[in-house]
């Protein structure tokens, strides 16, 4: 079992977003970057599948700026065997990212490609499905349960008010949702070992974006609300405001 896990370096979810001077990206000052949280579930699953098979390799791939090497190093410290960084300017174009990943993955031997269900920066939620189409293999998204028996896969995915069960054969693309597993964290030993693991950097030129990012803005600040009152005695006034003023009841 060889697994490939695609990883993105993103601003931490606690980031207070401010728009940079160019008006098309966030101001990077003071922003702490982390591995995309959903990618942690994808990485964990990639590790477990190879461990369960007792043979194979886990390859971590990222598309992004040179700083993404740090995130891949974390993946290596967590247990991945090798990493590839497809170096380019940061892009929010999912088609361009999926094409770059597909070009890299096509030349490799793999059984399972895992990604987080979405990146928490651009929130596009597109790359896993586009990648599967480009590779022409089955894909299940927003997966919270995965059973693999030989080449047969049963995946449970989250849908409104329940779950959908999908069945298909390997090789396949899986996008991971929180709940799929409990991700492990790098051990000190893992961090030391990661320094010796291969991390290859390949400069690429992504395809021209299909969508032009015209601007990025902070949302309009909401008008200050009011404290209706304290305790249960404020309830009648609240309900009346919701009915008469806001007209939402």
């Amino acid at each position: 079992m060889n697994t490939i896990v695609c990883i993105k370096r993103v601003p931490d979810s606690a980031t207070r977003v401010r728009i940079g001077p160019g008006g098309r990206e966030i101001d990077p000052s003071g922003v702490k970057h982390v591995m995309n949280p959903y990618d942690e579930f994808a990485l964990e699953e990639a590790l477990r599948r190879v461990e369960a098979a007792g043979a194979g390799r886990v390859t971590a791939i990222s598309v992004g700026p040179p700083e993404s090497a740090e995130t891949l190093r974390t993946a290596l410290a967590t247990g991945a065997d090798e990493a590839v960084l497809l170096t380019c300017e940061p892009t929010t174009d999912s088609l361009a990212v999926a094409r770059a990943l597909a070009d890299e993955i096509r030349g490799r031997e793999y059984d399972l490609v895992l990604l987080g269900k979405q990146a928490i920066d651009d929130d596009n939620m597109q790359v896993p499905q586009i990648l599967a189409e480009l590779l022409e293999i089955p894909c299940a998204t927003v997966v919270v349960g995965l059973e693999i028996d030989g080449r047969h896969v049963v995946a449970r995915r989250e849908v409104e008010g329940g779950h959908e069960v999908m069945e298909f054969d390997l090789p396949a693309v899986i996008s991971a949702q929180k709940g799929l597993n409990e991700p492990r964290y790098p051990s000190l030993k893992g961090i030391m070992a990661a320094k010796k693991k291969p991390l290859e950097e390949k400069p690429i030129t992504p395809s021209a974006p299909a969508l032009e990012l015209v601007s990025l803005e902070e949302p309009a600040a909401s008008a200050a609300g009011r404290i209706v009152g304290e305790g249960p005695d404020a309830v009648p006034e609240l309900v009346s405001a919701l009915r008469e003023e806001a007209k939402v009841l």
Partner: protein, 326 residues
Amino acid sequence: MGDVLAVAELREGAAGKPAREVTGLARSMADALGGEAHVIAVGGPGTVEAVSSLAGLGADRIFVAEGADPGPESPDVAAATVSARVTKGDYAAVLFPATARGKDVAPRVAGRLERGLATEITAWSVSDGAITVQRPMFAGKAIATLRFRESPALMTVRANVFSPEDREGAGEVVRIETVGRPRARVTAVEHSERDRLDVAEATIVVSGGRGMQDPENWRLLEDLVDALGEEATLGASRAVVDAGWRPHGEQVGQTGKTVSPNLYFAVGISGAIQHLAGMRTAKVIVAINRDADAPIFSVADYGVVGDLFEILPRLAEEIRSVRRDG
């Protein structure tokens, strides 16, 4: 050049709100582009009957691929069938609802057609024939404006943003065949016991946080949801999901769902930045919290400070009473 295709989603055989919202948006977008509004539906027996009502929202033509299997169609087949229709027509835009199914299928169509897709759009405009859309990024901490460079412009449409209007459309039903072979099959659909709306779709959301103190106390929130009626559902903060008190499907915020209901109750939620990002586009926000300095009050339209265990029962009672009196 200027037709717009809406991809209608059927739930339990009916064309519900997601199908109606994309059809209405296809109508207004087609008007701006000087084209026709088309609908495509891929489903089981009875699909024709289910979608013919969409003519009343301005659909000019309705393409229906009706299969023999009553279960949900494989997303591969849905994507291949929609892609085939797109290449046969002359579409400026293709709209999917931003539902679990729409968000799964739309990128597959983007991959097949190798065209750009904007997900969860909240606004749009047309100038010189080019379509520009707005969508949230960073779970709503930033709003991106994007211009499509090529047609068709593919997009998923956020729930509760665009309301369809009654418009008489020709509604000509055209039967088509499904295309392609499923790489993956949907073999079962499991519904959770309590059949409530998904937090991303409901028009009223009641979310609880750590201030609820114990998972047992969710009965108070459930009672409030019941008082608010069928359009209401439960949400949760990340803290209580991580604590295992509530399922992840209910989580609102940057690592959960971003919601835009008409009315949002934040109960016992202090308002971490990740949570605020996920719910600040709600039309009206009500915060109930013991701590008057909690950040949630900075985004709330209405706040009540105090003991939620005293406030919640009173609130449910008061809402029942006003709903009863009309």
